[in-house]
């Protein structure tokens, strides 16, 4: 993209205009996050930048909403609920998803395409439809309003991500490595744990992160399936936006952004590690 020395004026103008346009689009992508963070330090109870804040007057800022977030039962309850639901749903999704992805990566799988389509469908079917269907069905079987109902639903929603990431890793996986392990005398279980698993681990972890964030960020299904005892953080935020309009949700939002950045960093590290390992595999 470097501008060559023979570029005409028009090319130069376009070159920079293009970058400005891209800059604006990227700004559009990131702007909401830039607004939420400062506003979460608002000393007032409304979603507006006060004149004090704009003057950078310290009086306009406070940690009040963070205090509320970290002490109020209304927020701590949902936070803990989210932390109780997401990891279990993730674990379920990863365990079943990885197993199935390994199965799908084998050479002779009958109805592979159909199975794949079914396994990916929770990602494609609109959430409201999934939520409606689960709401009706789980009501019939007594799972509506229970912890396990929400966990099952979230696991189902997270599974496509696990399948996709793990399958992608397995596509790049050199099958002769498992054959080598077998030829050296390792049984299928041992081969899986000592050779295959360490190598597809980045894919598994990245699938797990996706599954986790899916559950941690999910609001539609949990609102239909959950009862008060399963109120999660996004649900509370939705209530915060709809019912209470309390700026504490901005503090919660900022905390969640921080979590996202951490997860993103983790994913990037994994990607690099994965690339290094891949690069190392001779081919």
């Amino acid at each position: 993209m470097a501008l060559p020395s023979y570029a005409s004026t028009g090319q130069r103008v376009w070159h920079y205009a293009f970058r400005v346009i891209c800059g604006l689009i990227l700004f559009y992508l990131i702007a909401p996050l830039l607004v939420v963070v400062p506003l979460s330090f608002n000393a007032q109870d409304f979603f507006t930048f006060t004149p004090e804040m704009l003057r950078l007057d310290p009086a306009g800022y406070s940690l009040e909403h963070y205090r509320d977030f970290f002490t109020n039962v209304d927020w701590q309850g949902p936070l803990w609920n989210s932390l109780a639901i997401a990891p279990v749903a993730t674990l379920l999704a990863v365990a079943l998803g990885t197993l199935a992805a390994v199965g799908l990566s084998q050479s002779h799988v009958p109805f592979k395409r159909a199975i794949m389509a079914i396994l990916i469908s929770p990602m494609i079917v609109p959430l409201i439809i999934s939520a409606a269907g689960m709401y009706f069905f789980y009501s019939r079987i007594g799972l509506q309003g229970t912890y396990w109902g929400v966990v099952l639903a979230h696991a189902a929603l997270g599974i496509p991500f696990v399948i996709i990431t793990v399958t992608a890793t397995l596509v790049g996986f050199d099958k002769s490595l498992t054959r080598a392990a077998a030829s050296l005398g390792a049984g299928p279980m041992r081969t899986f744990w000592t050779v295959q698993m360490p190598l597809i681990l980045p894919g598994v972890i990245s699938g797990a992160l996706f599954a986790f964030i899916t559950s941690f960020d999910e609001v539609v299904v949990v609102m239909f399936l959950g009862a008060a005892g399963q109120k999660t953080l996004p649900w509370q935020m939705f209530i915060g936006l709809r019912e209470q309009i309390s700026p504490t949700i901005l503090a919660a939002a900022t905390v969640l952004i921080a979590v996202s950045i951490l997860l993103l960093a983790a994913l990037e590290l994994l990607r690099r590690r994965n690339e290094r390992l891949r690069g190392l595999t001779p081919n």
């Binding site: 709401y135 229970t146 209470q244």
Partner: protein, 380 residues
């Protein structure tokens, strides 16, 4: 009918602790609850209202009994939640806070258990019987009223375009020439239709009669059509206060207690327009089919939470009138701000020059069809 009586006594059979122990003076020590569940899930409205419940009697109750209370803020969707739970055969809620019409529906549909209030609730502190003390608010056999509230308007006091005029007539809401700017109204036919008819020239006493006539609802909607383009529709009570504070709207309807928060607690430049405030009740229903331990706990709690003093206490946190006559003399100042609550109470004579009372039975009967028509109108 005999059946009803049979059922009434059947419900009571589930309440071994009802009766004698409860007929005592409410101010006495809370009697122990034998055979009671150790936790409760309460469905309510969230926000300032839920907070007033928490402060006035849930926290004191927890302090005395040590039980665990979980809140669910889905009273907006109470009927749907109850239906789903009933279908699932798994009732997660012990106590549900609903408005009058929903209570009527829940009772009609068998979603709510019938309660013999005279047995379960404490008599008034002034010795009045439960029936006398609650009076008209006892709208059906399932309902334990807590408060009456009104739905009314708040407006910003700093709208330049109004040139110093302030809306003091309900119909100013419909007058976008004199009072330009966005309005917020509830995305529900209730109250809006009544107001629209009044401003279309129908006497307040005839509103429900006209609504029931052929073309009555359409007439009200036609009146609403005149401001439809200027309306932001809300579904939660907190939206109008936020919209007013954000200057997104200049006038908006909401529950009077929410406006109290904006004006008194948040100090926003907002005033209230009380003309034709619309009264309604809010109170408890108990889901049908709870097991004995849970039912015992709920009844124990209701006895405590609806006595004269607790209901008066609730009014210290939010500007709603206690449903008991005996509580009203005890309402005084705001618990934290020390503000005199009376001027913010819907029952204050100054605020009651014109008012409507929500016709619960009419709405319970007609909500299905009117709601469908209204939502279709809204979606177009």
């Amino acid at each position: 009918m005999t059946i009803t009586k049979l059922m009434g006594s059947a419900a009571l059979a589930l309440l071994p602790m009802a009766g004698a122990a409860f007929a005592q003076d409410a101010s006495a020590e809370l009697p122990p609850c034998e055979g009671c569940a150790e936790s409760m899930v309460i469905m309510s409205w969230g926000g300032a209202y839920q907070n007033s419940q928490l402060k006035a009697y849930v926290e004191p109750y927890i302090a005395q009994t040590g039980i665990a209370v979980t809140w669910d803020e889905s009273s907006n969707e109470a009927i749907a939640k109850l239906r789903a739970a009933q279908e699932a055969g798994n009732m997660p809620f012990d106590l549900v806070d609903v408005e009058g019409p929903d209570a009527q529906r829940a009772c009609d549909e068998g979603l709510a258990a019938e309660i013999d209030v005279a047995e379960v609730l404490a008599p008034g502190a002034d010795g009045a019987t439960v029936e006398d003390d609650f009076g008209d608010s006892l709208i059906n056999d399932c309902y334990v009223p807590q408060i009456y509230f009104s739905t009314t308007f708040g407006y910003r006091t700093d709208v330049a375009e109004w040139n110093g005029a302030t809306p003091d007539d309900l119909c100013d809401v419909f007058d976008t020439t004199a009072f330009p700017g966005k309005r917020s109204l509830q995305a529900s036919p209730k109250k809006n239709l009544e107001w629209a008819l009044i401003c279309d020239g129908v006497p307040a006493a005839d509103v429900y009669k006209v609504l029931e006539e052929e073309g009555g609802v359409e007439r009200a909607l036609a009146k609403l059509d005149t401001i439809k383009g200027d309306v932001i529709w809300w579904t939660a009570g907190a939206e109008t206060p936020q919209l007013l504070a954000d200057k997104e709207v200049v006038i908006g309807s909401t529950y009077n207690g929410r406006l109290f928060s904006v004006i008194a607690e948040q100090g926003q430049p907002v005033e209230m327009l009380w003309d034709y405030q619309n009264f309604d009740f809010d109170g408890w229903i108990v889901p049908a089919g709870l097991d004995e331990a849970r039912m015992n706990r709920v009844m124990h709690f209701l006895h405590f939470a609806t006595d004269t003093q607790r209901l008066a206490d609730q009014a210290k946190y939010i500007a709603y009138g206690p449903a008991r006559a005996s509580s009203q003399p005890l309402v005084s100042t705001h618990a934290e701000l020390g503000i005199e609550m009376a001027p913010f109470m819907p029952t204050n004579p100054d605020n009651m020059k014109n008012f409507l009372v929500n016709n619960i039975e009419w709405w319970a009967d007609h909500q299905d069809e009117v709601e469908a028509t209204f939502q279709n109108w809204l979606a177009q």
